[in-house]
Amino acid sequence: MSRPTENTVGMVGLFDDPDALIRAAERVRDEGFTRWDCHTPFPVHGLDRAMGLKSSPVPTLALAAGFVGLLTAVALTGGLNVIDYPIRIAGKPIFSWQAFVPIYFELFVLFAALTLMASLFLFCGLGRWHSPLHDSDIMKHVTGHRFAIVLEATDRCYSEQNVRALLEETGCRDVRPLVEFEEEDSGIL
């Protein structure tokens, strides 16, 4: 096993109170940081605005996917029961769209829901397990009952002293460097 190397990749400020976090976030936002995030055990009301996040594109995507599902359903029922092989059933018209409505609805919902799930992967970083947060015990606080603000070293505005000062200014008593243990890469696997 190769020796892990230790890199400091950012700075973490831990808070006990969500309101303090919001205040800190507002500061950080105003300072012009871009590569930073807050980590909370539960969604904190007002934090989005404090962080200056844009509203999520998820609803639009889901709606679009729903319509794709609807069209798929129309194509499926119409294509198979009307165009491909029109069979007389129970004296009903070949294109008995009334009877296809349940399929239309279900596929609308199914497609929208699948898109929601996919957008979670896409936008919420699901499926990205690796994070320096795990390497120390910061994550333990975050999923428990404390609130963290993380500023990444790659940010343009980042410098260790600056950031530490900034966080302490906002009333953070627990500022820690974010450390990443990097194992030496050996091949793809």
Binding site: I87, R88, I89, A90, G91, K92, P93, S96
Partner: protein, 999 residues
């Protein structure tokens, strides 16, 4: 070559050709089916069952098959194509003409011979089911002696030796013997000096025949001509069910019931009065039905006789004694008097001679002879011998006994026959199965089946029919009469003509003039051969002869006989042949065991039918066992409560309680009613008037395929009276409320091409159930067994629904054949998720078995409940032997477990008919295609055809004002129209019950 033909027979031309090429001899072309045909027979859903995703067939390609090309193929027979043969049904109670459909050398379906004047195309359930018995794996397959299987040579040696040495020989046969058989028996008796011939049969009309013999002075039988009768009175005669040439009776009775809308104001139908003890098919069709104990029948006849002459005081007495409404009787008498020369009285064969003598007098008084009554000097059945005579003969000592297709050990109306058999040194049992008698004999010889046999019959003067084999014997069997022929031949001196005959077939052919010994010129030979082939093609010779008039009645003899009184001091028991298994000879036939009784809908069982009141007084309910004792005979039977039975009467059937002869009959009910035969008076073996009945405390669940007989006031079967009909031919519209039928959708256009439909005339359907078995035979419908019937899973695609109406003790009966209605707006179709049931442009509700996944939703959603589901592997359970596969119709897929099935209007016949017409470049003719049920129906109540042909019979029936659809108000647009039954009750009778209910 061309000859007259009744209109509307299936594939007339091709059949003529095929019949012309009937088999020249047994040895040629009768090879057992080879492998091509075996494969063709097996239209099983094998592919579909293994076809998974993508319609894949697992890892292997589907099994590869071979085509076997013969060295020389018979030119007239193409694989897979049907060939028809004429023949005769010699197995049953009457030798009806048969038309046998064979495919690749195996008979698969039996129809009536349309040329046969007695039955025409009609067939009985027994005839239809005969093909199943042919392939019965339980048949005795080789001759056996006490030690085991032996060769026929050894058998013949032993029998001939035995007969030579014997000083006393008994030959026992059935009553239904052809003229050639009778001739051969005569020759046998001549060469075997100690031999006596006895005829044994439990179902016979000996009592009636001997009464006729006495009153007319001549042997023979009276032939009722129902078609000419305006008023028919039946005294316990089930002439539509079991008495006489039933197919002819039904046809001629229906003739007198059929109505056409034109001239409905003056429409006439016959009127049927039934005085009966048990509820029968005939009673179910009565316009007036009187319940009466058999012992009262004599009184009725005498009272009627006097009343017709104007002395009606006896009628009132009858009312007092038997509780009969005398206004009805008075109306009946009036009717009879008004219809002199057009009325007919018949009495059941089990009734005592006094009744028959009285009936003869009454008919004479009503001028029936020559009008509604003819004479047949040559009855199909020989008179039955007195059982006591046989017993005495055996008691005196018999060295050898030969039993040809009789089963006395099972149904002997006397002493324990098995014990009698033990006294005989050499007993020879010849039978289809190893039945009770064959098993008890020293030699057990397998008989060939009807369809493997040569024979003939002469049921009427001028009608002689031939029975020819359509398949070589499947086993090492021999026709029983052929055995007798060979033994006779061996006993005969060299040089006599019988020695010249090669075999029984030869003997028969010579007697038919098909071959004169020492052939003359070539042209003469050719003419003989031509004549013989003509006989084979037509199925016999049917000469148009003038009806034989009834012999002059000897009034004195009749009057004295009619005065014989019958004592009655107990429960009265009548014993009738079973509607399906007859006297027990068909007990191993699953189709027949599972055919619901037309009256009680009972399957697989025998029962003691009693009226509700009798059941109450006996303190029994359905299924409770009662012991019936008559004289020294007794039987234990489960009770069946049957409305319409006369109080104090127990009706039961023969044919159950078989103990040997196959696996199917093991499932059937116990209780052999033959134990009661002739115990009170050997002269009236099937009637007892002093029976003792006790409750045993045991019970047996009776399985009935219909449990509810009330129509619940629903407009299902619509009926009206003749008076209503005369007033308004469209009386059905008043019988129910019909809302306006609206649909969201534009209906499909069916005006192009064909539009198939069926019309069923309820006015002429008597409910005989021949259609049910015909359907089963045509469509490879499995039997499911007694246990499965008990949980309501019978598979019949067609059933006869029966409803009781009015008086709960003596109900009016409505019957309705119910089959898939092929609805244009079929509720079943829209609910099938996999498109397994769809609608054809010809209006058929199609069912694709290989697509069906078995959700049963279609069946749930069927308002008529005519769909049937393969809950288990019914075909597999039924097929105990690959042999049985040969009975399959190769044109119909055999359904596997988990598949829904239903009536298709015999789509295989429709397709075949259409293709034939198209290939011949002509339009389809009306009635060219017949469904199996239609073809079998003796009353011609079912008509199938193309509604788009305005000249077709079906189109005319659809236009009839009597036509209605069941559940029409649901707007499913069925394609089966029912023609309302028009009953003809006497308008002057108090009991003027009209059927059909409103709301």
């Amino acid at each position: 070559m061309s000859r007259d033909s009744a209109p509307g027979f299936h594939s007339r031309e091709s059949m003529q050709r095929l019949k012309a090429e009937a088999l020249p001899s047994r040895s040629e072309n009768l090879a057992p089916p080879d492998e091509i045909t075996r494969r063709d027979a097996l239209r099983v859903l094998m592919g579909a069952s293994s076809a998974l995703a993508l319609g894949l067939t697992g890892c292997e390609r589907k099994p590869r098959r071979q085509i076997i090309s013969r060295a020389t193929g018979p030119e007239w027979q193409r694989p897979g194509e049907a060939v028809y043969y004429s023949s005769t049904w010699t197995d049953g109670d009457f030798p009806y003409g048969l038309m046998l459909k064979t495919v690749d050398g195996r008979p698969i379906k039996i129809e009536g011979n349309p040329d046969h004047p007695v039955n025409r195309e009609g067939s009985t359930v027994g005839m239809q089911a005969s093909v199943l018995s042919l392939y019965d794996p339980d048949r005795l397959r080789a001759p056996h002696d006490e030690m085991g299987a032996v060769s026929w040579e050894a058998v013949d040696l032993r029998v001939v030796e035995g007969l030579r040495r014997a000083s006393s020989v008994v030959l026992m046969t059935r009553a239904n013997l052809g003229p050639t058989e009778r001739a051969l028996i005569g020759q046998f008796l001549a060469v075997c000096p100690g031999a006596r011939h006895f005829v044994h049969e439990t179902v016979h009309d000996g009592t009636r025949r001997s009464a006729w013999n006495m009153v007319y002075g001549v042997a023979g039988e009276a032939l009722p001509r129902f078609e000419r009768a305006g008023v028919i009175v039946s005294l316990d005669s089930d002439f539509l069910g079991s008495d006489g040439a039933v197919l002819e009776n039904i046809r001629s009775f229906a003739k007198g019931r059929r109505l056409a809308d034109a001239g409905h104001r003056h429409a006439e139908t016959n009127r049927l009065y039934v005085v009966e003890s048990a509820m029968t098919v005939t009673g179910s069709n009565a316009d007036h039905r009187i319940r009466l104990r058999p012992s009262g029948m004599g009184l009725v006849v005498r009272a009627l006789l006097r009343a017709v002459d104007g002395h009606s005081e006896d009628l009132a007495a009858l009312g007092r004694v038997h509780g009969i409404d005398d206004t009805l009787l008075k109306a009946l008498v009036q009717d009879l008097r008004a219809n002199t020369g057009k009325s007919l009285v018949v009495a059941g064969p089990h009734l005592p001679g006094a009744v028959h003598a009285g009936v003869a007098l009454l008919n004479d008084r009503l001028d029936a002879p020559g009008n509604t009554l003819d004479w047949n000097p040559v009855p199909a059945k020989m008179p039955v011998d007195d059982p006591e005579e046989v017993e005495t003969a055996i008691d005196r000592g018999v060295d050898a006994a030969i039993f040809l297709d009789v089963n006395p050990v099972y149904d002997w109306p006397g002493k324990d026959f098995a014990n009698l058999l033990k006294k005989i040194h050499l007993s020879v049992g010849h039978g289809l199965h190893r039945d009770e008698t064959v098993a008890a004999c020293s030699l057990a010889l397998p008989s060939s089946h009807n369809l493997e046999s040569w024979n003939d019959a002469e049921p009427r003067s001028g009608i002689r029919t031939i029975c020819q084999p359509t398949i070589a014997p499947l086993f090492e069997s021999r026709q029983s009469i052929e055995s007798l022929f060979l033994w006779t031949q061996a006993l005969t001196k060299e040089g006599s003509p019988i020695r010249e005959c090669e075999d029984w077939h030869d003997y028969l052919r010579i007697r038919w003039g098909g071959q004169v010994v020492g052939a003359e010129s070539y042209s003469e030979q050719r003419e003989q051969r031509q004549r013989w082939e003509d006989v084979l093609r037509r199925g016999g010779s049917f000469e148009e002869k003038k009806a034989v008039p009834l012999p002059k009645l000897k009034r004195g003899a009749a009057e004295s006989l009619s005065r014989v009184e019958l004592s009655a001091d107990g429960y009265e028991v009548t014993i009738q042949p079973h509607h399906a298994v007859y006297d027990g000879r068909f007990a191993n036939n699953g189709w027949l065991q599972e055919l619901p009784d037309p009256v009680s809908k009972l399957v697989w069982d025998n029962a003691a039918s009693v009226s509700p009141q009798t059941a109450q007084s006996l303190e029994v309910s359905e299924g409770d066992m009662i012991a019936i004792e008559v004289g020294d005979g007794s039987v234990e039977l489960p009770v069946l409560v049957q409305p319409g039975m006369a109080d104090g009467v127990i009706a039961t059937s023969l044919g159950f309680g078989r103990t040997a002869g196959g696996q199917i009959l093991q499932q059937a009910g116990e209780g052999n009613a033959a134990a009661l035969l002739g115990r009170q008076d050997p002269a009236t073996p099937r009637l007892a008037t002093d029976a003792r009945v006790t409750k045993t405390g045991r019970s047996r669940k009776l399985v009935r395929t219909q449990k509810q007989f009330s129509m619940q006031g629903r407009p299902i079967v619509l009926t009206g009276t003749l008076e209503e009909y005369r007033k308004d031919a469209g009386f059905v519209s008043h019988k129910r409320h019909m809302p306006e039928l609206v649909s969201m959708y534009q209906p499909y256009d069916y005006s192009k091409g064909h539009k198939w439909a069926i019309a069923i005339d309820l006015g002429v359907c008597v409910g005989c159930s021949a259609c049910v078995i015909a359907c089963q035979a045509e469509n490879n419908i499995p039997i499911v067994g007694r246990e499965q019937c008990a949980v309501g899973r019978e598979m019949h695609w067609m059933r006869i629904d029966r409803y009781h109406d009015g008086d709960s003790e003596n109900p009016t009966v409505h019957q309705q054949p119910m089959l898939c209605q092929q609805c244009d707006n079929a509720p079943c179709e829209s609910v099938c998720p996999v498109n397994a049931t769809t609608h054809s442009p010809e209006g058929l509700n199609e069912m694709v078995y290989n697509r069906c996944v078995g959700t049963r939703y279609c069946s749930n959603n069927c308002p008529y409940k005519v769909r049937r589901f393969n809950f288990l592997r019914y075909q597999k359970t039924q097929l105990r032997d690959p042999l049985q596969e040969l009975a399959f119709n190769p044109q119909v897929t055999v359904r596997e477990m988990g598949v829904m099935e239903k009536c298709t209007f015999c789509v295989q016949r429709i397709t075949a008919g259409k293709f034939r017409a198209k290939n011949e470049g002509r339009a389809l003719k009306d009635s060219e295609i017949q469904t199996a049920c239609q073809q079998a129906c003796p009353a011609q109540a079912i008509v199938f055809g193309d509604l788009n042909d305005p000249q077709s019979r079906i189109a005319k029936l659809y236009a009839s004002k009597r036509a209605f659809f069941v559940l029409e108000e649901y707007n499913v647009r069925p394609n089966v129209a029912y023609l309302a039954r028009v009953r003809n009750p006497n308008p002057s009778s108090a009991e003027n019950v009209s059927g059909g209910h409103h709301g």
